[in-house]
Amino acid sequence: MNRTLSTLILAALLVFLIGPFLIIVGASLSAGDTLAFPPQGLSLKWIAKVFTVESFRDSFIMSMILAVGGTFVALLLGVPAAYALSRYKLPFGEIVNTIVTLPIIVPGIIVGLALLRYLVVPFSFSIGVALFLAHTALVLPYTVRVVSSSFNNLRSDMEEAAVLLGATRLGAFFKVVLPNIQSGILAAFILGFVTSFNQVPVSLFLSGPGVRTLPIDMLSYMETTYDPSVAALSALLALMSIGIVFLAERFLGFSRYV
């Protein structure tokens, strides 16, 4: 392909994919009171305002708990399952794999509705617990997938050797297998964290007084207010994601796993 043509294509592509994000950053630095680009004068007042909005603070903490805790529980469930799927001739292995990875295919909004109707309402579950379960189920397929590929890339004769040399199965897992797949687990954690933190549809129906994830809170804030604070918050969140991905890539070669 022609050199100039391909440079033009890539430049246009980057403008389309990254440009809007730069505009958000620009709009969030505005000194004016309405959302606009180019910004009307420069100031950090909207960035500062984000930290003073109480609902943003509460929902940020909620989202953090869901993303960190949910991914942690998903790993506790997913790592053994992935190990069983890759190392054993598992009876009904195909079915287990399907059930565990189904939450990727089924739209989140339906899961949220289902949990509200058949877990929260009839069993008077708290919405917070339902949210936690939903986010865990949502992240589970990613953890199983990423960790499975780590297990598959790790030759099984190492742990067999450890067992032959007298280690227990559990001992071989913790001393030989786990240290070798730790970067896969960390990659699964980051992927799970980002997925859960950014997730909207699953949480739509699972919000109530005081229980709300950050993206849902942003959606309802922007319905009523047309000031740059959502832009400022968006810019901050994007920077947070970029920071996480940058560090992960730096230390893990994250992109190999995703």
């Binding site: 392909m1 440079t7 294509i9 890539l10 592509l13 994919l17 990254i18 809007p20 994000f21 505009i23 958000i24 709009a27 959302l35 606009a36 680009f37 469930l77 053994p80 399952a81 069983a84 054993y88 001739k89 598992l90 009876p91 287990v96 059930i99 565990v100 189904l102 939450p103 295919i105 089924v106 739209p107 909004i109 339906i110 899961v111 509705l113 289902a114 949990l115 109707r117 877990l119 865990t136 189920a137 589970l140 199983v144 950014n198 909207v200 549809p201 129906f205 993206p215 942003m218 959606l219 922007m222 832009a231 918050l233 968006s234 969140l237 994007a238 994601s241 970029i242 991905v245 995703v258």
Partner: protein
């Protein structure tokens, strides 16, 4: 391979049981609800749903937008992936990084940017008025075009990344050989590149199509109640009218479309290779 079945089940069951209880069973009950009436099993919820013109319009629009986004992202995707594959190794790595970056950013933040761009006082309207093409702001938000642009920006990276890995796995000299043998670029694409990258196209296409069908954030922010798609319609039916039966019908349609897309595309990917 270890042979102990009990051990294997003990390891895999917690995850499977968890997913079944939290996910599978409630979803199946929701789907079943659309076929229930006090008198027994029935399709009346479905005939009622489809007799409503708005519902038909939303279903058609969702399908149309999903298809349009998939096709356009495939066209742009091939051009972009081709340009990227021909870069130097470091340039390629940097481009892939820049293209994957948006995937990690909150879709709410990414979609919100389009309000600044397409709004009444947004960049596009400012430019149109400055150039003199229009005297007053044009309504760009809350149109199908806005939703289309938003979805395209959200899902295009997935298509490009799938096509990049497909193009990389393609033998490089295939194109050269076809050119030497006298094929023009159109023939090269149609007869060489497309068949050899079909699997990547199918993977990317499935991700983009099902992603667009089940999008909530983009139609909610850029379409509002003027441009409803299936998910925003579902949300509206439940929150505005407490209409769980319609919600169940929409859920069934969404899930069927997602599974059908997965199956169909999987078949497309393998059918040609066997020949």
């Amino acid at each position: 391979m270890f042979q102990n079945r009990a051990e294997a089940l003990a390891l895999a069951l917690p995850a499977a049981v968890f997913a079944a209880i939290v996910f599978l069973v409630p979803v199946v009950i929701v789907l079943a609800e659309g076929f229930r009436s006090p008198a027994g099993w029935t399709f009346s919820a479905y005939t009622d749903f489809f007799s409503e013109p708005l519902n038909r319009l939303v279903l058609l629009r969702t399908f149309k937008l999903g298809l349009a986004v998939t096709i356009v992202s495939a066209v742009i995707g091939y051009a972009a992936a081709f340009a990227i594959v021909n870069l130097s190794a470091s340039g390629k790595g940097r481009m892939i990084g820049l293209i994957s970056l948006p995937l990690m950013i909150s879709p709410v933040a990414r979609t919100y940017a389009w309000i600044v761009i397409l709004g009444r006082t947004g960049i596009v309207n400012q430019a149109l008025q400055a150039v003199g093409l229009s005297d007053e702001p044009i309504r760009l938000l809350f149109t199908e075009t806005a939703v289309f642009i938003g979805l395209l920006q959200l899902f295009l990276p997935l298509m490009i990344l799938s096509l990049i890995s497909a193009l990389e796995n393609m033998p490089k000299d295939a194109i050269l050989a076809a050119r030497v043998l006298g094929a023009n670029w159109f023939q090269v694409f149609w007869k060489v590149i497309l068949p050899l990258t079909r699997e990547g196209l199918v993977v990317g296409g499935t991700l983009v199509f099902t992603g667009s069908l089940t999008a909530y954030i983009t139609p909610a922010i850029l379409g509002g109640s003027k441009v409803l798609m299936l998910e925003t319609l579902l949300f509206q039916r439940v929150t505005v009218a407490n209409d769980f039966v319609s919600a169940s019908v929409i859920a069934f349609i969404l899930i069927t479309m997602c599974f059908a897309a997965n199956l169909l595309l999987k078949r497309l990917a393998t059918a040609r290779n066997k020949r």
